[in-house]
Symmetry: C2
Subunit: 206 residues, 2 copies
């Protein structure tokens, strides 16, 4: 059975997709290479023809998974939408369905803690995707007429609110609490984005 060069890269991509889904859902240590390869419809022996180690796969899976997740979420809130497509993206990010792991969840939130103290490769991948998210949020603030420094501060706080909100919602063992907490983040996030009256729901931050 011959193998075309593009067939290999397709297989590689299948492994990567399987890895992104599994790692994001369960964390690095609770996923075995056997699980990943099974998800890619292969056996574990074939792994090392595509990646040098589990750690390397993890780093690539984070990069690939986060890009895919953010792009999809951005696409869902289409560029051709109303006044603030980014505000809608933030709301979608903080939706309970995302915290439950539906619709290609974001490794940034699902793996925050899992990444700490891990090899340089992994943390670099995480950092790069995080910077990308912050940049998107920051541009939105600058376009709304805010000073560069202030826009960056708001963007950083908003990114933390998004990631932290989903992460804590997932950690907590009480659906009602999780939803209340996500709602609070959506409101606070809306305020931070300056979406103002059109999104806020009757809060009064004094």
């Amino acid at each position: 059975m011959p193998w075309s060069p593009e067939q290999k890269s397709q297989t590689r991509q299948r492994i990567l997709d399987s890895a992104a889904a599994l790692f994001t859902a369960h964390g690095y240590d609770r996923v075995t290479l056997g699980d990943v390869m099974r998800g890619a419809r292969l056996t574990h022996g074939a792994f090392y023809a595509h990646f040098p180690s589990k750690q390397a796969l993890y780093a690539e899976a984070i990069a690939s998974g986060a890009r895919h997740s953010l792009q999809q979420r951005a696409a869902l809130c289409g560029a051709a939408q109303e006044p603030w497509p980014i505000a809608r993206m933030v709301q979608a990010y903080l939706d309970p369905s995302h915290a439950r792991g539906e619709q290609s969840p974001c490794p940034l939130a699902f793996l925050v803690t899992d990444v700490a103290n891990r090899e340089a490769q992994v943390r670099e991948a995480y950092t790069e995707v995080f910077q990308r998210l912050v940049a998107v949020l920051e541009r939105q603030r600058r376009n709304a007429g805010h000073a560069t420094e202030s826009a960056r501060q708001d963007a950083l706080a908003l990114a933390v609110l998004m990631i932290g909100g989903v992460a804590v919602a997932r950690a907590v063992d009480d659906d009602g609490l999780a939803e209340a907490l996500l709602a609070a983040c959506r409101i606070q996030g809306g305020a931070l984005l300056g979406a103002g009256e059109s999104i806020r729901a009757g809060v009064d931050p004094a």
Copy 2:
């Protein structure tokens, strides 16, 4: 060599302290029972005289560690301090030294992701401590004259900002970025607490 009843509970506490420190720093899977027992100056064989399983130890370590961490942080910002001791506590929580793991770090932030999808025991422990933190923040808002519902929303968002801020700062591979992000959270957290002019540092949100 005889053993008094209180000597056993002292030993148990040593194990618990060792476990809290190690789990918080490295996460559940990267810590072995051998590590924990070594930290308590015992050998691994003695473990099961005190706890039924590693998971049970983890749950207790989270509860004990978080209580200890929050109490200590609250104590550091003494009850006899200026107008808003809680505002000071929030600032201390979001200090880079905390994110670096100094001064008995908070499992709530260091283990957010590590706890997801784990046994009921573990998530219950996490949830209970989280509720405790939110309650403290919420009372502060109510005492400041805010409506109950609004106070709870603000408290939830603030808790997420604290936990998420420290977690992301730890995940990221860039000290400058980590500090900028923590600073943004401190400012945003100060605003959320209504600490206003006395803590804010020249930001203009609007």
